[in-house]
């Protein structure tokens, strides 16, 4: 059958055919998908479809490490002699399919694209990984209590960042190609797909509506930007008190991308590495002289919130948050970013 990109187009995939479907898409590509690891769902390289498990509200870890590994070799070198000869790290080849991320995580990938594949400087490693990747999103039907995507301009059925999106309906999946690459990859599984009808779309809209209704803002998101203009507002004195400065929120965040560049040597060999870093860490901004423009958790918390909800709007026109809720679910002291934002809006 022929697949079109226009809105309203799409196909039906029987639920029991999901594994066969992914098998066909996989072909000779690498497939990354959700699997259950010690009671949690995480993205892993899938070698047999039985490893897949889609019964989760969201994945424990965001998929960002697939594009932005926690540690990445930029180049290697030899030390000990007077000459240094940096050798660029190799970029990958071949195509990878990432299946099962939620719409929030897919949207987050487009943020990373802006940073690492933007107009100013392109990172060839990131770009190579990204170019080889097909993202197949699984839309949400039952959000977690920690989810708040609709507060930050995302949605349980958002298609942004997806090449293909699957909507889970009681009896089947509604499959929609979002990009040309997504349409191309679906061709391999055309034998399992039948045309969708208006009824199917109605059902999808109802399901998405249900999911959306279970999400509440708790505050008016439109008032947030104006409220965040005040760098010296009294609430900054209070908001950071619970924070332990551990960085869990930033490491798990699908949009946080800040990194460090350092050297690592063993005997005569060395490499320059790019590693995840966090604005919540004291050393993040500490000068070699010892001076630190963000000396306490107050300034660091303010930076994290302002970067996500104010600076990013100014420089990228979007909030740097997709509402996945991981920072809420995993904060060791139960800090809820929604309550923090609510406090700011109501101040």
């Amino acid at each position: 059958m022929k697949l079109e990109l226009e809105s309203g187009s799409g196909s039906i995939l029987r639920r029991e055919d999901l594994n066969r479907f992914l098998n066909l898409l996989q072909g000779s590509n690498d497939l990354y998908g959700p699997t259950r690891v010690q009671g949690r769902h995480e993205i892993r390289r899938i070698t047999a479809p039985e490893q897949l498990d889609t019964r989760y509200a969201n994945l424990a870890m965001s998929p960002k490490s697939l594009f932005l590994p926690q540690t990445e070799t930029l180049f290697t070198f030899a030390t000990g002699n007077r000459k240094t000869s940096p050798a660029a790290a190799r970029a990958g080849s071949g195509r990878n399919i990432l299946f099962g991320v939620r719409p929030c995580d897919a949207m987050a990938i487009t943020f990373l694209d802006r940073i690492f594949s933007g107009e100013d400087y392109r990172d060839p490693r990131y770009a190579a990984r990204r170019a080889s990747l097909i993202v197949i999103t699984l839309a949400c039907t039952v959000p977690d209590p920690t989810c708040f995507c609709t507060t930050v301009d995302c949605a349980p059925d958002s298609e942004i960042g997806a090449d293909v999106i699957l909507f889970e309906l009681p009896a089947y999946y509604l499959v929609k190609p979002v990009t040309r690459a997504g349409r191309d990859v679906l061709e391999a599984a055309a034998s399992l797909l039948t045309g969708a009808t208006r009824n199917d779309w109605d059902e999808k809209h109802r399901s998405a509506q249900n999911a959306r209704q279970s999400l509440r803002h708790g505050f008016d998101p439109n008032r947030l930007t104006a409220k965040l203009g005040d760098f010296q507002a009294p609430y900054w004195e209070k908001l950071h008190r619970e924070c332990l400065g551990c960085g869990v929120c930033t490491y798990l965040c699908p949009t946080c991308y800040c990194f460090d560049i350092t050297d690592e040597t063993i005997k005569s060999r060395g490499r320059r590495i790019r590693t995840w870093d966090s604005c919540m860490f004291p050393r993040f901004t500490q000068h070699a002289s010892g001076h630190n423009p963000r000396p306490t958790q107050k300034e660091r918390t303010r930076q994290r919130i302002l970067h996500k909800f104010n600076y990013a709007l100014k420089s990228h026109g979007r909030k740097l948050c997709v509402g996945c809720g991981r920072c809420i679910a995993f904060c060791p002291v139960g800090i809820d970013i929604r309550s923090v934002l609510k406090e700011i809006v109501e101040s």
Binding site: T73, T76, A89, R90, G92, R129, I266, K267, R271
Partner: protein, 148 residues
């Protein structure tokens, strides 16, 4: 042809006042012992931060020996007795995690015990020759070039 014997690299932290002098005595007395140790002189066995030992293994040592004055003989009265508590816990903890007991050794050697020093080095080296190289935990540049 015989299989070449594995020659372990052993980092030996020796206290300045007893064990280092003991090693010195072994040397001037021309007592033979295996050349596998790399000596690091420290003021006292109490100066040893357990991280030194762990870090030595990480950076390429197959085993670590820490040697100080016999109890009661410490130049600083009791540095070795404080150290003994730390070492007991470190050694047991690493063994419980799965590190072979032969890889982390502690001994008392006085300045007069050149023979004893050589015997201990002999024993430590022989045991590690049998054990072979440290198969885990080590920093390995070969892993830097992982394909994506």
């Amino acid at each position: 042809m015989d299989k070449p014997v594995f020659e372990p690299k052993i980092v030996a932290f020796l206290c300045n006042w007893c064990s280092y002098a003991g090693a010195d005595l072994a040397g001037v007395s021309r007592i033979q012992y295996p050349p596998n140790i790399r000596v690091i002189r420290v003021p006292c066995s109490g100066r040893i931060n357990p991280l030194y030992i762990v870090k030595a293994l990480q950076q390429g040592a197959d085993g670590v020996l820490v040697s100080g004055c016999h109890p009661g003989d410490c130049h600083y009265i009791s540095g070795n007795l404080f150290a003994r508590r730390k070492f007991a816990l470190l050694k047991k903890f690493l063994e419980q995690l799965g590190v072979e007991p032969e890889r982390i050794r502690f001994s008392w050697v006085s300045a007069a015990e050149g023979v004893r020093f050589a015997q201990i080095i002999e024993k430590v080296t022989n045991d590690l020759r049998t054990r072979g190289p440290l198969p885990y935990f080590r920093k390995d540049p070969a892993q830097w070039e992982l394909p994506l």
